[in-house]
């Protein structure tokens, strides 16, 4: 029997299964108080969804408010709170971008979990009125050679490619990181950026009594029920993944049609408000649109096109079926909207209307199954000041002595570049279309992806994402700042001016005081650093409960930085371009190997403190790199981070097969100079003709700049330290992932890597 409002009133004292739906005692008591009766089954489902950690940000809200205090600057047209922030990039254009997690679904069902992660973030961008133009995927897995990584990684990569390629969105970068802390909880974050004329910005509020509520896109099925309230808001136990029906199933072709239909509808100015259906499905879309508009709404749930006729109203409300949007349309425009949907083969159904007052009423064959104040679902959810405590083991970790420093031999270099975190990620990114749409200027393995927005003027953007769980474990405040600093540096290295930040904060359980302390420190660090670097936060996402059997992941704030180009033709690539250019190391190198890739890759050692943060230096370095690009002084620029100078020399040399002869300055031992991960540094190659001009600019601005060699030949020679041929380097660099996950396309098992 369907549990109607009338029934709930008649049986006001009946017990309801709120614990099973993830609600706490005091939260349920609050629902009883708000409604003045017991909730119906459908209402209970809606409260459990909307008040879940995933939807309500109940544990993070008090900390995220710091991001709102960062000066917004002049470019932010829409800030946090809408589906994604919107940034004015000039020439009448605006961009919107955001990164989100799809961690738990991707562990349970790697292909569909990762695929629908792309689908979800793309709809977030579309719903702002923008045409999605690129995606990026920061990924973190357990140990590369762990058997379960062989289950998880290929499926996730295929899912991202399968969905993104079919949608026609270039995948221009991201990260692939291995660490055992992610063994039972891989991180699958997805970023999307979209572009729109400024006047096309769409908002979600439902306003205008009598306006029609139209559901666009796929039929609603039983997939994804309980996705956000149960799957995303609880930790895994030791038995590993289960609950596969809670993962949605994606249809990228439908999403492509939905994108084209929505954009045509936006261009014709036919909608008053629009909201995507993602996690929390119709529940969230109906609630958010009516709450944002401070309007009433009446929805006929039985009009929703279903995949299975036997679904009950609670299931329809909770379904997370993909590829759906909810539009608010005036009665006059309804036919035009339906016609455009029909042209693209998209199902469009009027399911309700905006009403007087502020009640959200949902009917099932004429009987009310929901009658609530939408604001009570969307805005009156619980807010927690969770207890916090510095991790008990942190002092010991920070005091742990580093392994003894070795000689910087050729063997060490080959072992380092072959280690899973530093090796070539070709195996992964060859499965992504990086150039569809024809505007990709730089993509993997460059420091940042660069995409052209205007063929006429060359206006374009750069984007990089970075995060370092080891640094953040050792010092969450500094770790979050270092993530921002690295992404900032990556963007500046291409020559783009950093203008805005998005973030995906991946942490363990907020109910663990030590995790909550990490979260508070990391958000404080990030907010402080964004203020100094003048890069306001336009939006983001929190992913809690990344924890298995009580052990949280390394805290992993992933930070995305957006940069702007007047003309993308001036981008600086990371690879050495030709022989005879001067190599200049910018910034200061100190003995900083705490949390380093060397300590981890060679010794499985995590201890000490991360590199020192100097945001003023980051800013100065950025200014020099941007000026160098603008004035055409640079052949290449590559930021220094994981793996230090050694890694950068290898990557820049292998990019186009141009070697280098390097003379390390006197002072620090060669090992430290090559593998220290001091922040605020970059390696540039400068044509001889520009060397004086560039070094004088560094001198005038006070940026340390050391001449450390020249580009030359087909070897990497570090004088008095080591010499290695590029072919041997390339083999070591390329072989690791094919050996673990299967040969590259066109390669035989005997020759698993393809030289190119």
């Amino acid at each position: 029997m369907i549990d109607t409002v009338t029934n709930a009133e008649a049986t006001a004292s009946d017990a309801m299964p709120y614990v099973e739906l993830g609600l706490k005692d005091d939260e349920y008591a609050r629902i009883l108080e708000l409604l003045g009766r017991r909730p119906t089954a459908s209402e209970l489902a809606m409260y459990s969804i909307m008040w879940s950690e995933h939807c309500s940000y109940k544990s993070s809200k008090v900390h995220l408010s710091q991001f709102g205090k960062i000066p917004k600057g002049e470019r932010m047209l829409v800030g946090m709170g809408e589906n994604a922030g919107v940034i004015d990039v000039g020439e009448g254009l605006a961009v919107t971008f955001k990164v989100e997690s799809h961690n738990h679904p991707s562990y349970v069902e790697p292909y569909q979990g990762a695929a629908t992660g792309i689908g979800g973030i793309v709809r977030d961008i579309l719903t702002m009125g923008a045409r999605p133009v690129l995606v990026m995927d920061p990924l973190r897995f357990g140990d590369a050679d762990h058997p379960d990584t062989r289950r998880v990684l290929p499926g996730i990569v295929a899912g991202i490619g399968g969905y993104g390629n079919c949608l026609g969105l270039p995948n221009i970068g991201g990260e692939v990181v291995f660490d055992p802390s992610y063994q039972g909880n891989p991180l699958v974050n997805a970023l999307c950026l979209g572009v729109m004329p400024v006047e096309r910005i769409q908002l979600s509020a439902a306003r205008g009594v009598g306006n029609v509520v139209v559901l666009l896109g796929a039929k609603t099925g039983r997939d994804g029920i309980g996705g956000v309230s149960v799957l995303a808001s609880a930790t895994f136990d030791e038995d590993g993944p289960a609950n596969r029906p809670a993962v949605q199933v994606g249809d990228p072709f439908m999403e492509k049609l939905l994108i084209e239909a929505c954009l045509e509808i936006f261009d014709a100015k036919l909608v008053e408000g629009i909201q995507d259906l993602g996690g929390a499905g119709l529940t969230c879309a109906l609630t958010e649109t009516s709450a944002a508009g401070k309007s009433g709404m009446l929805a006929h749930l039985d009009r929703v096109p279903l995949r299975e006729a036997t679904m009950d109203p609670t299931e329809v409300l909770a379904s997370e079926s993909q590829e759906r949007m909810l539009a608010i349309v005036t009665p006059e425009n309804l036919d035009a909207v339906l016609a455009i949907a029909h042209k693209w083969g998209v199902i469009a159904t009027a399911i309700g209307e905006v009403t007087e007052g502020t009640r959200l009423q949902i009917l099932w064959h004429g009987e009310a199954v929901v009658d609530v104040e939408p604001g009570s679902l969307a805005d009156d959810g619980p807010v927690y000041h969770r207890p916090m405590q510095r991790p008990a083991d942190l002092a010991a970790l920070n005091d742990a002595a580093a392994p003894a420093y070795p000689q910087a031999t050729k063997e060490l270099l080959l072992a380092m570049v072959a280690s899973p975190n530093l090796c070539s990620k070709r195996w992964v990114v060859e499965q992504y279309d990086r150039i569809v749409m024809g505007d990709t200027v730089l993509a993997w393995p460059e420091d940042a992806g660069v995409v052209r927005l205007s063929e006429q003027t060359g206006l374009g953007i750069a984007l990089a994402t970075d995060g370092n769980g080891r640094y953040t474990r050792l010092d969450p405040y500094a770790g979050a700042q270092l993530a921002l600093a690295e992404a900032y540096r990556n963007v500046a290295a291409t020559g783009a001016v950093p203008i805005s930040v998005t973030n995906c904060l991946n942490f363990g359980s907020p109910e663990d005081p030590e995790v909550m302390w990490q979260f508070a420190e990391a958000t404080r660090g990030l907010a402080d650093a964004c203020t100094v670097l003048e890069t306001p936060v336009s939006g983001g996402n929190v992913s809690f409960y990344n924890s298995t059997a009580g052990t949280p992941i390394n805290p992993t704030p992933v930070v995305g930085v957006l940069g702007l180009f007047d003309d993308v033709a001036r981008r600086t690539p990371m690879g050495f371009q030709s022989e005879g250019a001067t190599l200049l190391l910018l910034g200061d190198t100190a003995d900083e190997l705490g949390g380093s890739e060397w300590a981890w890759a060679m010794h499985r050692h995590l201890g000490g403190v991360p590199p020192r943060v100097d945001l003023a230096r980051e800013k100065l370095l950025g200014e020099v790199l941007i000026a160098g690009s603008r004035d055409g002084m640079l052949d290449s620029a590559h930021d220094l981070s994981d793996g230090g100078l050694a890694q950068v020399l290898v990557e820049s040399a292998l990019a186009k097969g141009v070697g280098a002869r390097v003379v390390l300055p006197a002072g620090l031992m060669p090992f430290v100079q090559l593998y220290s991960e001091s922040a605020g540094r970059a390696l540039v190659s400068v044509p001889r003709s520009e060397e004086l001009r560039f070094t004088e600019m560094c001198g005038a601005r006070g940026l340390p700049c050391a001449r450390i060699g020249v580009t030359d030949g087909d070897v990497l020679e570090i004088q008095d330290v080591l010499t290695v041929g590029l072919a041997e380097l390339r083999t070591a660099f390329e072989a690791t992932l094919p050996a673990l996950f299967g040969p590259l396309a066109g390669a035989s098992p005997d020759h698993p890597s393809v030289a190119s």
Binding site: F253, E430, G438, A745
Partner: protein, 221 residues
């Protein structure tokens, strides 16, 4: 030069840009409109028409525009199918053989050297036979297959337009692209339209496909 957009076409905008950069007027054509709107050549672009759900290109061949394209092609109009468009041409029987799942089952995208084998088609006259060009390849189902007799015929008649230098997907005899007997219909798996600008491509080697057809059209006038 017309570029057909099917539901799920993705590289249609890129083909239009390439046509424009080569000096042509790029005319968008719509799958549900049987008219070719007076164009002199047609490109069937890359993408995942109809989601590639049944078999790549298998549904697109039944689109309303396709009988017109097939008739025009039989009448000698230059038609180029790129990637998904190549699959549509095979499904439409304008070209022999079929494209199946890549040998290692993964989608692969990389910059791909190709050896031009036939520089006499409407779409390759700007090249020289034996010339090696580099254009991107990106597909999940790009493995060209045909029976032995078909492959023998294609090679004997010089109808292989380009060979892979380093086969990325297991295509039989390293075939990357083929043409019909008349040389006006060409299907190619890699993407010449993505190698037309220094800024965004690995080279500008792909532009030749589009300049070739313009030249042949001018000559024919």
């Amino acid at each position: 030069m017309g570029v057909v957009t099917f539901p799920g076409s993705l590289d249609d905008r890129d083909a239009q840009r390439a046509a424009r950069l080569a000096g042509a007027d790029a005319i968008p054509l719509w799958h549900a409109d049987a008219s070719l709107h007076g164009v002199d050549a047609v490109v069937l672009p890359g993408g995942f028409s109809y989601g590639d759900y049944l078999r790549c290109g298998a549904i697109a061949r039944f689109a309303q525009v396709m009988p017109t394209v097939v008739d025009a092609a039989r009448g000698g109009m230059p038609v180029l199918g790129i990637c998904n468009g190549f699959q549509v041409l095979c499904e439409s029987h304008l070209l022999p053989g079929a494209l199946t799942r890549n040998q290692n089952l993964h989608f692969v995208h990389r910059d791909q050297p190709l050896e031009i084998a036939n520089a006499a088609t409407a779409w390759t006259s700007a090249y020289e036979a034996g010339q090696v060009i580099t254009v991107p390849v990106k597909n999940g189902e790009g493995c060209y297959v045909g029976d032995e007799r078909t492959l023998d015929e294609l090679e004997a008649e010089g109808r292989v337009v380009a060979y892979y230098v380093g086969n990325p997907n297991g295509s039989m005899r390293d075939i990357a692209g083929i043409t019909n007997e008349r040389g006006n219909v060409v299907g190619i798996m890699p993407h010449p339209e993505h190698a037309v600008e220094d800024l965004t491509g690995p080279s500008t080697d792909g532009l030749g496909f589009f300049t070739s057809v313009l030249e042949s059209l001018v000559k024919a006038q």
